[in-house]
């Protein structure tokens, strides 16, 4: 139960509430929690927005009522010309226009309907236009346009009260900010993006100005001109017509949009070119650049100077060092020269002394010829003896008598002669050596460490041919073969053999021929003798054949081998056939060759075996 008010009590707020709201942790459960969070997140539900906006709304409602009074303008409206009417003004929202909330539009419409509905006016005894001719149609149209967001946007885009003008450059010369600031502000409403940057003032930072112009140069406008479409799509009778209308409209819209973009562009261009701040920034930039440039040049110059200085200092230092060095060298040279001079003088003196001494003693002889010879010898002495020995000699000469002196001189002479002789011998030996070495180099070391007889050479060549390259431990085998077959009895190692073979290879073909010929001669001689000594029985023919048998060419050899293979051992008349297969050879030739080959192979094998055995023994 409330009590009654006392006398003089009025409604009043005596003080503010002491505590603001507090944040509480709540449990995330239940319907009401969900509802609360949803309301808070979306912030659209009645209880939230209404509660938060109540104050503002109550303020605005007063204004609306005020606006509703002036409806004489409505009566002048032509319902046919609804397209050109100002829909905001019709609904009494002329003062807020595009800023009007949807709710306000709704409210305004409601108020208008209440006041201007034909039924109401008829009741009040007013004259009503027939059908659509009444001005109430305009209100309906206005609401139709403004309640639809798309249509409203289209209308907003061509808002008749909007000032499309762009200040020229000359206008803004004096008071740039006063001229351009409102222009940008009113154009900002076309921006798709919120938070359009403000023009600012003279003191705006470079970043702000830059952001401002980059925003406006990339202006993203929602302004479109569908409201101004000449034809209405809905009026078309068929699809083709509709399409045609659409095309027309689109072209018109695009054109207008382009114009609009140009307008904004011009505006921004004008502003940019007039902006005193841009000028300022440019100047600053320029000054800065210049300063930088200057600084750079200065720095460069300084650096160069420093470099130059350093270079000069280095040069100076180098020069000084060089001078010092030269001085030193000169000093040394001087010193050395002096010493040399001294020495020279001394030696000259000593020589003179020796000569005079010798002369005084008449060159230790009375004989004229001897004297002359002695003179020569003494001269030689003078020439060749060192200072020290000269001094020594002089000393000896001065201290002794003539005879002693003579002996000393003679001894010296002898020594000198001996020395000269030795030197000459050495020179000769060197000369000999030189010639020898040259000789050796030309002859390929023919006179190697071990003397190789003709026989041996022949044997070696044979062995080398017998064991061609690729044979297992070839040179050992060759050496073994040589040792086995050599008549000289000199033991040769593989190394010797290699050396010899190499030197042989180096020999020019002419020399090789020579050796071969020699070998052949010898062979002929030997073989010519052997059969005679062996027996007289074998026929001359055989002997002749043996001696006359031409050497087997490789071709013949190949043919022979092939024939041997094609006619195996048990073939009847084998050798006849083989001989037939080898042209230019008789049966006997072939048989003989075969025997030789067999022998050679046998020898080869034996040699190889021996080497192998030796190798095994070594192991």
């Amino acid at each position: 139960m409330l009590r009654g008010a006392e006398e003089g009590q009025v409604t009043a707020v005596t003080r503010a509430l002491s505590a603001a709201s507090v944040l509480c942790q709540v449990e995330p459960v239940g319907r009401w929690f969900e509802a609360f969070i949803k309301r808070r997140n979306i912030n659209v539900s009645a209880s939230f927005q209404e509660l938060e906006d109540e104050k503002e709304l109550s303020e605005e409602s007063g204004d609306e009522e005020l606006q509703l009074e002036e409806f004489p303008m409505l009566k002048t409206l032509d319902p046919k010309d609804w397209k050109n009417q100002d829909h905001y003004a019709v609904l009494g929202l002329g003062h807020i226009r595009y800023r009007a909330a949807q709710k306000q539009i709704k409210a305004a419409h409601k108020a208008m309907v209440l006041k201007h509905h034909p039924d109401k006016r008829k009741a009040a005894g007013e004259q009503i236009g027939e059908g659509d001719n009444d001005y109430f149609t305009c209100i309906t149209k206005a609401y139709e346009i403004l309640s639809d967001p798309v249509k409203r946007r289209a209308f907003n885009s061509i808002d008749p009260t909007f000032d499309n003008s762009v200040p020229s450059k000359s206008e803004a010369k004096e008071n740039f900010f006063e001229v351009f600031s409102p222009v940008f502000e009113r154009n900002a409403r076309w921006s798709n993006k919120k938070n359009v940057p403000k023009l600012g003032d003279m003191n705006s930072s470079f970043e702000d100005v830059d952001a401002f112009y980059s925003f406006w140069y990339n202006f993203d406008s929602w302004r479109e001109f569908s409201y101004l479409d000449e034809e209405e799509k809905e009026k078309a009778e068929c699809r083709d017509e509709r399409r045609w209308i659409e095309k027309q409209n689109r072209a018109a819209r695009a054109l207008r949009k382009k114009e609009e973009m140009n307008r904004i562009r011009t505006l921004v261009d004008n502003a940019y070119s007039c902006d005193p701040r841009i000028k300022k920034f440019k100047e600053e930039e320029k000054a800065k650049k210049e300063a930088e440039k200057k600084a750079k040049v200065e720095a460069k110059r300084k650096e160069q100077e420093a470099k130059e200085k350093q270079r000069q200092a280095e040069l100076e230092a180098a020069r000084l060092a060089k001078e010092k060095e030269e001085e030193e060298v000169r000093q040394q040279a001087l010193l050395a020269k002096k010493e040399k001079d001294i020495q020279k003088k001394a030696i000259k003196k000593e020589r003179q002394k020796l000569r005079t001494t010798c002369k005084n003693w008449n060159y230790f002889s009375d004989n004229e010829a001897e004297c002359v010879k002695m003179m020569e010898e003494v001269e030689k002495l003078c020439d060749r003896l060192e200072l020290a020995s000269l001094q020594c000699l002089n000393e000896a000469l001065t201290s002794t008598t003539r005879e002693g002196g003579k002996a000393a001189v003679e001894k010296q002479i002898e020594e000198i002669n001996e020395q000269i002789k030795r030197e000459r011998e050495e020179a000769e030996a060197r000369l000999r050596q030189a010639t020898k070495s040259s000789e050796r180099s030309t002859s390929g070391g023919g006179g190697g460490s071990k003397n190789w007889s003709e026989d041996d050479l022949q044997l070696l060549i044979k062995a080398v041919n017998l064991f061609p390259a690729g044979t297992n431990s070839r040179w050992e085998v060759i050496a073994n073969y040589m040792n086995l077959h050599s008549t000289t009895g000199i033991k040769r190692t593989a190394k010797d053999v290699i050396n010899k073979a190499k030197s042989l290879q180096k020999l020019d073909p002419h020399q090789k021929d020579d050796i071969n010929k020699k070998a052949f001669d010898k062979f002929k001689k030997e073989h010519g003798v052997v059969p005679q000594t062996e027996s007289a029985a074998p026929s001359e023919r055989f002997e002749g054949l043996v001696t006359d048998s031409a050497p087997w060419t490789t071709e013949e050899q190949k043919l022979l081998e092939q024939a041997l293979k094609t006619y195996p051992v048990n073939t009847p008349e084998r050798w006849e056939k083989i001989a037939a297969a080898v042209p230019g050879r008789s049966k006997k030739d072939c048989m003989k060759r075969y025997k030789e080959l067999v022998e050679m192979v046998k020898a080869k094998k034996a040699a190889q075996e021996q080497v192998l055995n030796a190798a095994k023994a070594k192991k």
Binding site: T14, S21, F36
Partner: protein, 506 residues
């Protein structure tokens, strides 16, 4: 659209299904509405539920119980250490994570929880006859972030789509729909939950259908098993008396006795006396013993006292008396015990004791209700800030007089109301007055309103006199999120109106 709510307790798990506007607990394949949260690992299969619990006698090392106590805890946590010490199933630490060692295999607690959740899912699916994924899971109020994550992971592994994890006491309130019907006014609710291993008491303020936990207290030393244990001890002493065998050291015999005591305890909640019978309890001897409810209450009286003390302590902590509590919600299986309910009723003589829903089903039903609210919603993610909302700081009161003529304050706008909010009251004034004065006060702490608390007065003049009648004064209080107040008073007869706006002192 069906959704389910799952409550995973230390000893038991329970699942409720929300279908056709109703939340109901569904029975598992064994016909029990509550499934023991016990998992037994045998050679080739894992058994969940009653079978696992009963086979624990033979398979103690490979049976995991009370997995909730270790879930999401790391080594070194005192709770975890305590659990490890008690656990019959060896627990080892590997890479900082605690894992069970079963048959030389490592099993992490999340896997065990996953098995239980899978079982719950199966149960719900067989009841619904269709696949169900959306679930709300309850967690104790004191669960930390790690434990919640671990529980969420386990549920996810079981194939659930977790809509939200909610606190057990809130779920209990939701099950009874407290504050969800009439979203005005404010009340305080005490939630008494006596679970298998712990007792937790919570005071929740309900304002405009939104719950706010004022204080909570958890005691891990008392729970349903304590009663069973006490009864088992009693039975063991009875056995000793008759057969001269002390079986307290024999774990297997004690296990059998515990199972028997558990059954007896349950039946004692409904009947006056119960019979405990164990075949071949020890040494081939059968054990048969009758326990009356009075005996049971005598055995457990220290435990009952402990529960009552916990409630008293919490009230003291919040600074409430028993009269400040408007409702008491009982949950947890052991809250069934008639003696305990009697004791609580004695503590709050004027308060409605809500036990119409079986106590161990309260929480899953609440979870299912929440699941029903959430299912089908698009944006379920909760930011941290969503959980803290602006509330009014102080009560707004109006001064009036009662019949005897003494000053009387009436709360128009309670503290803790989520903002923005609008409250509407119709105040009465004697009809023979031509004017009415509303004096508005704000409360100063817990003490009653004083003159200093007055911040505004609203006077309505020149009202029509109605001899013998009453003036109806419609008072609307609107408070915005920043705490500023807007009051509108209207006389219903004359339409006279006064408006004030009170800002917050900066």
């Amino acid at each position: 659209m069906a959704a389910i709510g799952v409550h995973l307790g230390c000893t038991c798990a329970c699942v409720a299904v929300y279908k056709d506007g109703r939340a109901d607990v569904v029975a598992n394949d064994a016909g029990d509405r509550v499934t023991p949260a016990v998992v037994a690992y045998s050679k080739n299969e894992e058994v969940v539920g009653l079978a696992a619990k009963q086979s624990r006698v033979r398979n103690i090392a490979n049976t995991v119980v009370k997995v909730k106590q270790i879930l999401g805890r790391s080594a070194g946590d005192p709770q975890a250490e305590k659990y490890i010490a008690e656990s019959k199933c060896p627990v080892t630490e590997k890479n900082g994570k605690l894992q069970y060692e079963i048959d030389n295999k490592l099993v992490c607690p999340e896997e065990v929880a996953k098995l239980i959740f899978s079982k719950m899912k199966e149960t719900a699916q067989s009841a619904l006859g269709s696949d169900v994924n959306d679930v709300v899971i309850t967690v104790p109020f004191e669960f930390g972030e790690n434990q919640k994550n671990a529980l969420g992971q386990a549920a996810g592994a079981a194939g659930f789509n977790v809509l939200r994890l909610i606190h057990e006491p809130s779920a209990a309130l939701l099950a009874y729909g407290i504050g969800q019907d009439s979203p005005t006014g404010k009340s305080n609710v005490l939630v008494f939950k006596l679970g298998g291993t712990s007792l937790s008491v919570t005071v929740i303020e309900v304002n405009s259908g939104i719950y706010r936990v004022l204080a909570t207290n958890t005691d891990d030393s008392i729970g349903g098993v304590c009663f069973t244990e006490a009864l088992a001890q009693h039975l063991a002493s009875e056995f000793q008396r008759s057969y001269k065998h002390d079986i307290r050291g024999n774990s297997r015999a004690m296990m059998k006795l515990m199972n028997s005591a558990d059954v007896a305890k349950h039946s004692l909640s409904t009947v006056g006396s119960s019979n405990c019978f164990v075949d071949s309890l020890y040494d081939g001897l059968d054990f048969d013993c009758n326990v009356s409810r009075a005996r049971f209450e005598l055995i457990c009286s220290p435990l009952f006292n402990k529960c009552v003390e916990a409630i008293k302590k919490l009230l003291q902590q919040v600074g409430f008396t028993a009269d400040d509590i408007n409702k008491v919600v009982l949950c947890g299986g052991s809250a069934r015990i008639p003696k305990l309910q009697q004791l609580i009723k004695d503590l709050f003589p004027a308060v409605e004791l809500l036990n119409s829903i079986t106590p161990d089903e309260v929480i899953p039903i609440g979870a299912a209700t929440e699941a029903g609210i959430l299912v089908g919603k698009e944006n379920l993610s909760l930011e941290e800030e969503a959980l803290s909302i602006e509330c009014s700081a102080k009560d707004i009161l109006v001064k009036g007089v009662d019949e005897s003529g003494t000053d009387k304050f009436t709360v128009l706008f309670p503290s803790g109301t989520p903002l923005p909010a609008r409250r509407q009251h119709t105040l009465l004034a004697p009809g023979n007055n031509s004017s009415v004065c509303l004096e508005l006060y704000e409360s100063l702490g817990k003490s009653p309103a004083k003159e200093e608390g007055k911040f505004a007065q609203i006077v309505l003049q020149d009202l029509d006199k109605k001899e013998g009648g009453l003036h109806d004064i419609l008072t609307v209080l609107t408070m915005k999120r920043d705490g500023s107040l807007h009051v509108t008073c209207t006389d219903q007869d004359t339409g006279k109106c006064e408006v004030i706006t009170v800002e917050v002192a900066s």
